[in-house]
Amino acid sequence: MFYREAGQFKTSYASDQAVFPILQDRIGVFIILAIAFVVIPLTGNDFIINAVMIPFLVFSLAAIGLNLLTGYTGQLSLGTGAFMGVGAYACYKLTTIYPGVNIIIWVIASGFFAAAVGAVFGLPSLRIKGFYLAIATLAAQFFLEWCFIRIPWLYNYNVSAAIEVPQRELFGIIVTGPRASAETRYYIVLSIVVVMTWMASNLMHGRIGRMWMAVRDMDIAAELMGIRLLPTKLLAFAISSFYCGVSGALMVFLWYGGAESAVFNINQSFTILFMIIIGGLGSLLGSFLGAALIYILPIILRFVPPQLGIPLHAATIEHITFMTIGALIVFFLIAEPAGLARLWQIGKQKLRVWPFPY
């Protein structure tokens, strides 16, 4: 009733091919951005911003990165955690070597290091496919994780073998380090995530995105149509790792404030993979929805039993959380294998014809 495109005529190619062709969608996106930029910093407390919103955005960015590779290009990767680690360690090295440079520039620049490493580990993708490739990317995961521990130069020979985020200022405001305010960090993460999502969306609607999707649907057919597989796949690995690297740098610099190599272990890779599969492969919206579900669900589960007055042991809650997540993953897969993004589309379709059944 309210959500209907009737009467909205498209009179130019630009409006026809817009990312959000329907007026209500544009309003919706604007409202979401307004909530994210204005309402949450004004109303949210430290817990909401620090423990919910910042991690959610960081994970969303990593999920977008993996989705570019797995969802759009069809190359299954289990090395996301390590690529995030490359970004984090690169950013740490850069900012300790050149402390004077704007930290945001280093966060973005660290993405390029991750991209280079990602492209190198993407090389086998030309010959290896499917699950075989997934396990080949595990080689990247374990090798890089080993590097983070065994190469002391990466963490400046710290005794703790961990990276500690130094304090950096931007226009007189403390941005990183323990004294930075949650709101500042939130704004920086949010801005970077919004800009990079917008870039990803443009990428997907353009030539590169179409090439990737052609490769995903059938790489031999794509090759016959004149798409060069090696550059295309390597580009996918590079850009995906770029996103993961930036998200890793954000994670350490603007959320954790310090990290050791265990943060970037195999479980991190799996978590990001869960997010995109539950959220929807090949969907930017799905990356956000998946990140929200997988990250925020355990938080809620941990809070529900005490709120209901059920006295449970902390360990028991942990076990039940695990069981619930497992059961929910299976449930969501059975209910809608194409992910939450597809559910959202179905919901929109229902909304269009509401209150009529069809």
Binding site: L76, P124, R127, I128, K129, G130, F131, Y132, I135, A136, L138, A139, F142, F143, E145, W146, I149, R150, M218, I220, A221, L224, I266, F270, L273, F274, I277, I278, L281, A315, T316, E318, H319, I320, T321, F322, M323, T324, I325, G326, A327, L328, I329, V330, L333, I334, P337
Partner: protein, 318 residues
């Protein structure tokens, strides 16, 4: 030059100088490889029959071992507990088929793969919920597994073999032989291979997919139980064992997802390669290489044979 010497010559000189140490390392690699091969075998059974890449195999190993130990601690005699555990594994196979696989028939591989992740999480939570999260000791004595070691004077030194390892290798070999006979000689085995070749063709000649799936998951559960007993006896039974499933993955790609001999040969290559690599080449780069060495071996093999050593040739058509 020094580096080249250290990489290409020095390790072999060391091997020549202390053959007893070399044989000892080789044996440990062999035993480790046999156990990797067992986990990989569970993967292969399920992948062959249903095309599901079963990530839950590692947790099934832990779950089987935990059930066995848990039942025994609750006062059930060891062999009755063994029987009950087998029953539990059957119930698990039946439930998974009924609850997870059947609604997901004909979904893309990655969705089924993801579903096994769901199973993994559920089993971790369930296992810890029922049996507690603290590590347990495998009931080796109650199962009449030998302990101690046999020492030989050979190769100009002393080589010591754990009795448990010898039994593990024997049991694993018997199990592989039994599975091979089962696959090639029995009616169900033939049905399994038919399903592996083509689901729809198998259905059309009257083979029940549901039944076959329960059987393979049950067989994988049995393999998991045996693996769990021997891994559990070597370390302790806890959810940390789960990581060994990740170690079985390079074994799988090395051997090929669909080949039982591949799983065995792959397991041995990885097990031995990993131990020798860590022992002779590891110190050059600062040890701890066994975390990734197996994957690099597998990757190198894959670059030459993308379908693994024994995998079926991948034919692609447009």
């Amino acid at each position: 030059m020094g580096i080249l010497y250290n990489i290409f010559i020095d390790p072999f000189v060391q091997m020549g100088q202390a053959p007893d140490l070399f044989v000892q390392t080789l044996w440990e690699g062999l035993v480790g490889g046999m156990l990797y091969a067992l986990i990989a075998l569970g993967f292969v059974l399920i992948f062959k029959a249903s095309g599901v890449f079963n990530f839950a195999q590692g947790i099934m190993v832990v779950f089987a071992a935990l059930t066995l130990v848990g039942l025994h601690t609750a006062g059930v005699p060891a062999f009755l507990a063994l029987g009950l555990t087998i029953a539990v594994m059957f119930a698990l196979a039946w439930t998974i088929e009924r609850v997870v696989l059947r609604p997901l028939v004909n979904q893309p591989d990655i969705i089924l793969f993801m579903a096994t992740f769901g199973i993994t999480y559920f089993l971790i939570g369930f296992g810890e919920f029922v049996f507690g999260g603290d590590p347990k000791v495998m009931i080796t004595e109650a199962l009449y597994l030998p302990k101690g070691s046999i020492t030989y004077k050979a190769f100009g030194g002393i080589v010591s073999l754990q009795r448990l390892d010898i039994v593990a290798v024997i049991v694993a070999s018997i199990m592989v032989a039994v599975l091979a006979v089962f696959f090639s000689k029995t009616r169900i085995g033939r049905a399994l291979r038919a399903v592996a070749d083509s689901h729809s063709a198998a259905l059309s000649v009257g083979i029940s997919l549901e039944q076959i799936w329960v059987i393979v998951w049950f067989a994988a559960g049995l393999v998991a139980l045996v693996t769990g007993i021997f891994w559990g006896a070597r370390s302790d039974v806890s959810f940390a064992l789960e990581v060994i499933a990740l170690k079985a993955l390079p074994v799988l790609i090395l051997g090929g997802f669909t080949s039982i001999p591949g799983a065995i040969v792959g397991g041995l290559i990885i097990g031995i390669g990993e131990k020798l690599g860590e022992f002779y080449w590891g110190p050059l780069v600062g040890s701890g290489t066994d975390a990734w060495f197996a994957y690099v071996i597998a990757l190198v093999f894959l670059l030459f044979r993308p379908q693994g050593l024994f995998g079926e040739k991948i034919i692609e058509r447009v």
